[in-house]
């Protein structure tokens, strides 16, 4: 390959474009075959022979190559040329200049954008696709046109396998597999729609099986051959995806697979993607540079979907103007309702209509049973209840927001279904504090494990250096009750398992953020929003509310590792959003 600058040559002679070769001397000629343009990238190809030299006025680079199709009987030293340039539309190359015996000849270029012509050019330059690829700088439309012309080739330099793939319509795809090569060669993921990403961008991980199979051939390069990679862009399931290698300037497909259909929900995608056992230490890095944005995007779409009108019904007479609304989302387990009623049935706050009880059915599987049982439960326990069913599972935030949307109370209490008060009057007591100490924006409560140890007495933010995240920790968890604390203490945040705030503040803060998955960090997220509103977070230190922490969630997923990944995802989101605010809180 050589480059020349032909600006000093005078232009005197015209060469016809794409006709017969222009004979400049015996056995010396020039011919320009093709000139195309696509998205401001120009490609010109042709050949010359003898002493003809190529001078390109506007383009900077071209490539010269052996050309076997032109008759050696007629011409000497035949060389093909391929010129590429990226130019603004008004700076398109208008001509190509060649020089022969100090004479410059010009060819005007009627650049074409015709697809078939472009495909024809690419088919003629299969050995030079790597050059074209680098010159088009992975421009997607070019890549898409290029893709079919990249040949399959079984090289002993590289082995790869795409094991799992998952396309999320219009958002991107993620891919899992392994790849090992003899030396450091260029490798890409390359979709038939033209999306590309360097394989070296992948999260790499150890593959024992690949090591066992291929270490004889590739040595220790096999060990970290596992890859996980996400490629953003408008994709569709069923599209083709290849691992493409470049060896000695030639592109070829190492492996090609059809991409599977991914889940259409954020949680569904997470179930697939978080089950890939990558080291947790690199998890936030993986989210940041791979599929974290995908999940956020899917979640955004879910939330934007038009909501069906929720179904609301009450058993007993619903209080018209309660001071408090206690909102309890139900997921997986409906039996918790009855166990909570054992606590509520003797609580004046409910039977004297100070508080209304709202159950949010956040699990369609529970709907029939609760629809059937709600009246029986009222007859047995005498606590009026309002049920709201939004037609689908929304997770902690969505369910609580739905409950809040129908609540009538001046104060909202968010209570998990696995919290069982062992005392009465705690609701009115918390309302009293919110009224008399208005600097508290949110109040939490002391939660205990069934055996009596502390489960929650406020949360604090602790930075994990290994995960690069702020985590919510429960100071004093599993320790005995401390009776020396004042009745209410100020804390950085409180758990959403039990929190109370005014409906006004809740609305002003925009409710719980629904972009988190399942249920972590939404509580501290709300606390941080309230803190931004210059209010404190308080926690009662003498309440006796039993919390069977995580019971409902364990039933949901079962897989602890998956739950951990979801937590890491939410933590990554939370940290990205609140890092600065948390540092202020923590230092203050």
């Amino acid at each position: 390959m050589s480059t020349m600058n032909g600006s000093q040559v005078q232009n005197r002679n015209q060469i016809a474009f794409q006709s017969e070769p222009k004979l400049l001397a015996p056995r010396e000629a020039i011919k320009i075959d093709r000139a195309i343009v696509l998205n401001n990238i120009v490609l010109i190809s042709g050949w010359m022979s003898g002493t003809v030299k190529l001078l390109v006025t506007d383009a900077k680079k071209f490539v010269i190559y052996e050309r076997g199709d032109v008759s050696p009987a007629l011409f000497d030293k035949v060389r093909g040329f391929l010129i590429m340039a990226t130019v603004a539309p008004d700076e398109w190359i208008k001509k190509v200049t060649v020089q022969h015996n100090e004479v410059a000849y010009n060819s005007a270029l009627p650049l074409t954008t015709e697809l078939s012509e472009i495909q024809l050019v690419l088919s003629e330059h299969i050995p030079r696709l790597a050059y074209i690829l680098s010159e088009v700088k992975h421009e997607q439309e070019w890549c898409k046109l290029l893709y079919p012309f990249i040949p399959h080739y079984a090289s002993d330099q590289v082995e790869a396998n795409i094991e799992q793939s998952c396309a999320i319509m219009g958002i991107g795809l993620s891919v899992l597999g392994w790849c090992v090569s003899r030396s450091s060669i260029n490798l890409w993921f390359f979709s038939e729609f033209g999306q590309m990403r360097k394989l070296s961008d992948s999260v790499k991980f150890y593959r024992q099986d690949v090591t066992n199979e291929f270490s004889g051939k590739f040595g220790s390069r096999c060990e970290m051959s596992g890859f996980f990679c996400s490629i953003a862009g408008p994709v569709t399931p069923g599209m083709k995806l290849s691992v493409v290698a470049e060896i000695s300037g030639v592109l070829f497909k190492v492996q090609e697979k059809v991409v599977d259909k991914g889940a259409s929900t954020a949680l569904g995608y997470a179930r697939w993607a978080f089950n890939i056992h990558l080291p947790h230490s690199g998890f936030t890095q993986r989210l940041a540079s791979h599929d974290g944005k995908f999940i956020e995007e899917i979640r955004r779409r879910e939330i934007a979907l038009e909501e069906a009108v929720p179904e609301v019904w009450s058993v007993g007479v619903r209080p018209a103007t309660p001071m408090a609304s206690v909102i309890v989302p139900l997921y997986k387990r409906s039996d918790f309702v009855e166990h909570q009623l054992l606590s509520f049935e003797n609580d004046k706050d409910f039977y004297e209509r100070f508080a209304e009880l709202i159950y949010v059915i956040d699990d369609p599987a529970l709907y029939d049973r609760l629809k059937h049982d709600s009246n029986v439960l009222y007859k047995l326990y005498g606590v009026p209840m309002t049920f709201v069913f939004g037609g689908r599972n929304r997770g902690f935030s969505g369910a609580n927001n739905l409950g809040a949307s129908i609540a009538r109370g001046t104060y909202l209490f968010f209570l998990n279904s696995d919290v069982f008060p062992e005392e009465t009057g705690w609701i009115s007591r918390m309302v009293d504090i919110l009224v008399s100490q208005p600097h508290y924006g949110i109040l939490g409560a002391r939660l205990l494990y069934p055996q009596g140890a502390v489960q929650h007495i406020g949360m604090e933010f602790v930075y994990s250096d290994s995960l690069n995240l702020w985590l919510n920790e429960h100071p004093g968890i599993n320790l005995p009750i401390n009776r020396d604390l004042p009745a209410v203490i100020s804390v950085p945040a409180v758990t959403g398992a039990c929190m109370a705030l005014s409906r006004e503040d809740f609305a002003q803060a925009g409710g719980f953020d629904e972009s988190y998955l399942i249920g972590d960090f939404e509580d501290s997220d709300l606390c941080l929003k309230i803190r931004q509103m210059r209010k404190d977070i308080g926690c009662l230190t003498d309440t006796r509310l039993i919390h069977l922490e995580r019971q409902s969630v364990m039933h949901a997923g079962g897989d602890a590792s998956f739950r951990q990944c979801v937590t890491l995802y939410n933590g990554w989101k939370h940290t990205t959003r609140w890092d600065e605010q948390i540092r202020l809180t923590t230092n203050g």
Binding site: G316, V317, D335, E338, H339, L342, E345, N346, Y351, V376, K379, L380, G382, D418, F420, P450, Q451, L548, Q551, M554
Partner: protein, 436 residues
């Protein structure tokens, strides 16, 4: 008889509620409750007694008359974990209507099985002035393993229910599930004014579990039997031992058979052991195979006789044919009826030295204990019996039968009187007698 429609002053209307009618389900608890019912009917202190038994064949919830004073309620508990009746609507409607119609002064539950725990709450809501009693015949509230307090899998004896330990017996549950279960039982039991257990052993287990010691009264089940037999003489009764009852995993028949297989030949030759058992055919096949393998050599040598099942009317005659009754159960037993039946017939009892058995049989006085689950200890004991002929006669002298229906009735009426004469019932929980 007093006119049923007019309440005599100071006389009680009593409703007995049982998990089964002895005509269809002749278990110890059902039989004892029925005997109490019949006794109350004759009592001058009681104006009217009604017997309501669940019939778990279906769950239609209907309550219908079986015969005068006796009703069947088609209700059941299918899930012993929640112990909730299948047809709660019927508990709220049919059962409530029934209670309203009877307006009893005393509602005496025997067991919560099939009735369901909600019945206590509904009874209190419907009859806020009535005294509610519950006779605890077993330990199902404490132990999900059929109330046996024997560990699943290892079959080790269990001393106390703990959430974590219970979860280990039932790995598909969580410790928190057991916490919730106990909490629900305890909340339902708050509507009960007094508990009755047939043994101190059972009382202690419920105290350990969380019930108030003061609220549990020990009253042995009353047994109605024929007159004590005139002792047959000269038929080597002291060398004849009888096993009576169901042959299940927990009844320890395998311990007895192993002990017999361990006996020295000259000892075994003198002994005769009769098995009056039933339901071996419905046991798990490995247990069946084990029992059959242990029995085969004994049957051949003539030590063992498989007599098979019996009806209640045949019991006295069958027991008369043996000198000892053996209860080798590997679980605690609460108060085995068979022990009282043996005593009623003047027979000493050989039993495991644990739980309700050890309480009811006094070692060296009206029977003999052996180290529970230990066939060698039982073999030694059987050898002692063969080698000490006078032992039997001495223990026969020591047998006293006190668990008569009269005795049970008398104690129960005293308890009813205490409860109904007390100024106020210890009311737990808010009672809602009026629902919109």
């Amino acid at each position: 008889m007093v006119n049923a429609n007019q309440k005599a002053p100071g006389k009680l209307k009593v409703l007995i509620i049982v998990h089964g009618h002895p005509e269809f389900s002749p278990g110890g608890g059902e039989v004892a409750a029925y005997a109490l019912y019949q006794g109350l009917k004759e009592s001058v202190a009681v104006q009217e007694t009604t017997f309501l038994a669940t019939n778990p064949k279906g769950n239609s919830g209907r309550i219908h008359l079986l015969k005068e004073g006796e009703y069947l309620w088609e209700q059941r508990v299918a899930d012993p974990f929640s112990m909730k009746a299948e047809n709660i609507q019927a508990t709220l409607k049919d059962f409530t209507a029934f209670l309203k119609a009877l307006a009893p002064d005393v509602i005496h539950f025997h067991h919560y099985m099939h009735v369901g725990l909600d019945a206590f709450r509904v009874a209190r809501q419907t009859c806020p002035e009535a005294r509610i009693l519950l006779t605890l015949h077993e330990m199902l509230a404490i132990c999900l393993n059929d109330g046996q307090m024997v560990k699943t899998g290892s079959m080790r004896l269990c001393l106390k229910a703990e959430d974590l330990a219970c979860q280990q017996c039932f790995p598909s549950r969580t410790p928190e599930d057991f916490w919730l279960r106990r909490r629900f039982f305890a909340a339902s039991f708050k509507y009960v004014d007094a508990f009755v257990t047939p043994s101190s052993f059972l009382k202690q287990r419920y105290v350990d579990w969380g019930l108030d010691r003061e609220m549990i009264h020990v009253i042995e089940n009353g047994i109605s039997v024929a007159q004590p037999l005139v002792m047959e003489q000269g038929s080597n009764l002291h060398l004849r031992i009888g096993f009576f009852g169901q042959v299940t995993l927990y009844k320890g028949l395998d311990i007895l058979l192993e002990a017999l297989n361990h006996l020295p030949k000259k000892v075994a030759k003198q002994l005769t052991v009769e098995i009056h058992g039933c339901n071996l055919d419905i046991q798990r096949s490995e247990f069946k195979t084990k029992i059959e393998a242990l029995m085969a050599p004994l049957l051949k040598r003539g030590v063992l006789r498989w007599v098979g099942q019996y009806s209640r009317s045949e019991l006295a005659g069958r027991m008369a044919g043996v000198g000892w009754i053996i209860v080798p159960s590997i679980w605690w037993e609460n108060s085995p009826v068979v022990i009282q039946e043996a005593f009623a017939l003047g027979r000493p009892v050989i039993c495991s030295d644990i739980g309700g058995m050890a309480e009811k049989v006094h070692h060296n006085q009206d029977g003999l204990h052996f180290s529970a689950r230990n066939p060698f200890a039982l073999a030694d004991l059987l050898t002692r019996i063969v080698e000490t002929p006078e032992l039997w006669s001495r223990l026969v002298e020591g047998v006293k039968f006190e668990a008569t229906v009269d005795q049970c009735l008398k104690q129960t009426l005293v308890l009813y009187a205490q409860l109904t004469q007390a100024q106020s019932v210890k009311k737990m929980g808010r009672v809602k007698s009026k629902l919109p």
